[in-house]
Symmetry: C2
Subunit: 292 residues, 2 copies
């Protein structure tokens, strides 16, 4: 099955698709709490690279899933991601005023509304997912979002304030903070098609692990090399906050080498999937290209 | 089937049971993020009336559910409740220092950790529920927690700051803020047994609506009449914050009359269930008695 679209066209089409799905599942002005609905829409719509939905759509292609079924999974992981950004930007966390080139949610609204919008976005992710998928899918997403996943990683990040993590600890932190949800996006997408053999599921998870970490290393490289325009947030912020990054620990050259290793690992993991893994391959290529 | 236990003994037994279930599902010190695990346990264990778990257990008795199956539902609603209290107490919300007679989570830990603990408690609720129940149960809980339920009600409460709601608007706000989760507790409990006829499910929902509102009216009466010891939080706080309550809008005497009407409505709704509805009856009796 040959998909004639370039990756850029494919990603553009899928981004439009997820934007429309998110617009449909998010509450509108007829909501019981219109200000909350506005904050939820503001935080979710109109921007973002949509890496996680792209991963869900791409993963669903390896075993021939119906794309309509993938929408809920793609939307659910993006809603969890959007909630995490809103809470991450709050004054008690990163205290960020700019996100995706716009005022953060608590600046555009207020801190209490942003807190509730994040909370309600997490709930909405499960409403959307449970409306289509079974308890297993919900358990998978909940686990990725919670103390064993994203929230746990955020706590490790918080605990590291004023300390210098080594590469191993930094990797562990990111494998929870951003890696868990990226792995969930891939797993949920793949779950929409025919069941994978155990070895294939493991290979897919190796891909997701490597791609997720590559994404973080690329982000760290961009943070020192990029401009606010490329990054959509304040550049050099990690250095100002004196947070350990792959660049501060390894230097740019070694971080770039590490990124290539992760890229190779992700690509190698896709071997069993042949041409059906092409979009997953495209995504990890694009992740690496972003930072160069 | 005659249950020989007094309500007080039954409730004590169920409270011990849910405490043990919660202790088991909450992460321990071997967690990837031990400080987060500690904050989650602190916010959830060792206190609280456990009204929602009691409602789930009681509702499950009307159609003969196996109690082991109810544990996950009871724990999930209590985890959502615990998360909402942690976030409600944050400085950007009610800014409360005391809860259940102890320092609130953000005082005992810090604001960022409390934020993450609340977030992770919400995720854990879905991990626990989805581990046993299907997507339908997850959708039910997510809806009750989100913008159409608890979070929506909290936003309406926030929006009302500095305004005076009338009784109708106050009722609408509470039917979301506390009512939605109480209804979910009852529905999830009942879902554990044999399926209810539509008319019975409606009667049960009428009970949950009335009981949830009665709980709020009783709380408002306690807030002016009670001591911090009875209430477990700072008494008279609503008056200081100049929030509309059923007592400020109606006066104590009329609020007490309203409470009796809600009690009668809840009791009447239980008629179809005969003796299997006894524990639900006991709970609404106890809710009303608390405030007298």
């Amino acid at each position: 099955m040959h998909d004639p679209l370039t990756f850029s066209d494919w990603a553009g089409e899928r981004r439009q698709r997820i934007e429309s799905v998110l617009g449909r599942v998010l509450p509108g002005d007829d909501s019981a709490a219109p200000r909350l609905a506005q904050a939820m829409r503001y935080a979710t719509l109109g921007g973002g690279k949509r890496v996680r939905p792209l991963l869900a759509y791409a993963a669903s292609e390896i075993n021939g899933a119906d794309i309509d079924r993938v929408d809920a999974c793609a939307a659910a992981v993006e809603l969890v991601h959007a909630y995490s950004l809103v809470h991450d930007d709050l004054p008690c966390m990163d205290d960020d005023a700019l996100r995706r080139g716009r005022p953060t949610c608590h600046i555009a609204f207020d801190v209490a509304t942003a807190l509730l919008a994040g909370d309600a976005l997490q709930s909405l992710a499960f409403t959307v997912l449970a409306g289509v998928e079974d308890g297993g899918a919900c358990a998978l997403l909940a686990d990725a979002a919670g103390h064993r996943g994203m929230a746990g990683g955020q706590q490790l990040d918080l605990d590291a304030t004023g300390q210098t993590l080594d590469v191993e600890a930094l990797t562990r932190m990111h494998s929870l903070k951003t890696g868990a949800l990226i792995r969930a996006a891939v797993q949920l997408g793949a779950r929409c098609g025919t069941a994978l053999a155990a070895a294939d599921a493991e290979a897919l998870d190796r891909y997701a692990n490597a791609a997720g970490l590559a994404f973080q290393v690329a982000d760290d490289i961009l943070d020192v090399a990029g401009s606010a325009a490329t990054l959509g947030k304040t550049a050099g912020k990690d250095a100002v906050q004196r947070k350990a990054t792959f660049v501060t620990l390894l230097g740019v050259t070694e971080a770039e080498r590490h990124l290539r290793v992760l890229h190779d690992r992700a690509v190698a993991a896709l071997a069993p999937f042949g041409s059906t893994g092409q979009r997953l391959r495209d995504i990890v290529d694009w992740i690496v290209l972003r930072s160069s």
